[in-house]
């Protein structure tokens, strides 16, 4: 994008979002949602530190952005009906 340091902007600016960081590779355990048990309280969505629980519209079931999910397990720990389980990623 910039050939030499002279091409750099005079102040530090950001050119893209962190969506390009594949933090999902940090993960050891993968969250899996059992949609039969899910009652769409969106507790997982509220508490996800990595913005990796996706709910498009009100009433939708949540899904997981596995490119960015770091596998912390907060969603599984705080899920009221116990619909999320953490499964070991294959080596």
């Amino acid at each position: 994008m910039y050939e030499t340091y002279r091409d750099l902007p005079p102040i530090q600016i950001t050119t893209e979002s962190t969506k390009g960081n594949q933090t999902g590779t940090w993960r050891t355990f993968r969250p899996v949602i059992d949609l039969d048990k899910c009652d769409r309280c969106y507790t997982c969505w509220i508490f996800c530190p990595d913005v990796s629980i996706i709910v498009e519209e009100e009433g939708d079931y949540p899904s997981i952005d596995l490119i960015h999910c770091k596998g912390c397990g907060i969603c599984a720990n705080d899920c009221g009906p116990g619909a999320i389980t953490m499964e070991r990623e294959p080596l």
Partner: protein, 310 residues
């Protein structure tokens, strides 16, 4: 009973968003798995909306938004030196006033070390100047970015690299009472909030946003690596901190103190302490000492609230 964590579900209809939907944070930021800070940041930004300018000092918060050229927030952010959160906020506000942009919320977002130790003088100065800004202290109870050194906000008896455990606990008095300190300093609004109580957090942030003058929010934000606990327990531990009385939720508004989450059936502090290995070295006598400290603290708060109502 104070609500929060997984219990939210029983009190709300399913399929409804109970917090604002707009997302002002991108995934892929560089926080550790299970960190409380991005939860706090995300909830706060949801509450304040996109017309916000943030400034952060050194600390985890300087690293988490992303490494150049990538950036995870959808609002402007200024990085600056450790001790000048208050001064930078005053500067941003002055610049916005000069441009006539009065609808923008200025947020100084600092850690506990950057607030109770290093940034205290500039925060005090900003309050003295009456700057219209919101100061947010996310409290992970030590200098976690550099590997857990004791700060003025570390609770009594907690392990850090500079307060190793053992039979003798160092002669510290426990967490600095920063909120009371700032109230004496003349702040307009101050509240303690907790990431495990998201509705309360959003409500307090919006109240703070609606008030002119210096405002202060103290957010408890657990740090799985520094507190030596399972990353999945972040919200559970934060919730227990309030339910055991270790981190009472209260606010100062219109010259009055009041509890924002009443704790009935307070749990023993041991339930909170045993989930974290930073408290593993504590003997039963030391745990009962912490219980005493918490009881005294809550009694003192009650008295303070009574006195402020008169």
């Amino acid at each position: 009973m104070a609500r929060g964590g997984g219990e939210l579900i029983r009190e709300h209809m399913s399929g409804k968003f109970i917090i604002p939907r707009e997302e002002l944070m991108h995934p892929g930021h560089s926080a550790c798995p299970g960190c409380g800070e991005p939860i706090a940041m995300r909830l706060l930004l949801k509450a304040l909306g996109p017309r916000t300018v943030m400034n952060v000092p050194a600390g985890c918060c300087a690293v988490i938004p992303g490494v150049w050229p990538r950036y995870s927030l959808k609002i402007p952010l200024i990085d600056h030196a450790f001790e000048c959160t208050g001064a930078t906020s005053s500067g941003i506000r002055a610049a916005l006033d000069a441009k006539g942009m009065n609808d923008i919320t200025v947020v100084g977002w600092a850690g506990d070390g950057g607030t109770v130790d290093i940034g205290l003088q500039s925060l005090s100065g900003a309050i003295d100047r009456g700057t219209d800004f919101l100061y947010v202290m996310y409290d992970n109870e030590a200098y976690m970015n550099t590997g857990s050194q004791c700060s003025g906000s570390t609770p009594w008896g907690a392990w850090t690299t500079t307060t190793p455990g053992g039979n003798e606990i160092s002669h510290r008095t426990g967490k600095k009472r920063i909120l009371e300190m700032l109230v004496e300093n003349g702040i307009s609004y101050a509240a303690t909030v907790n990431i495990a109580f998201p509705e309360d957090l959003i409500k307090r942030a919006q109240i703070a946003q609606s008030i002119r003058g210096p405002k202060f929010l103290h957010i408890l934000s657990p740090c799985p690596s520094g507190w030596k606990m399972d990353p999945s327990k972040t919200v559970e531990v934060a919730k227990l901190a309030t339910q055991t009385g270790m981190f009472p939720l209260y606010e100062y508004r219109d010259s009055q103190y009041q509890f924002t989450e009443e704790i009935k059936d307070r749990k023993p502090v041991e339930e909170y302490l045993r989930l974290q290995r930073r408290f593993r070295h504590l003997s039963p006598t030391q745990i009962s000492e912490i219980q005493n400290l918490v009881d005294n603290r809550l009694r003192e708060l009650d008295a303070r609230m009574e006195a402020s109502r008169k």
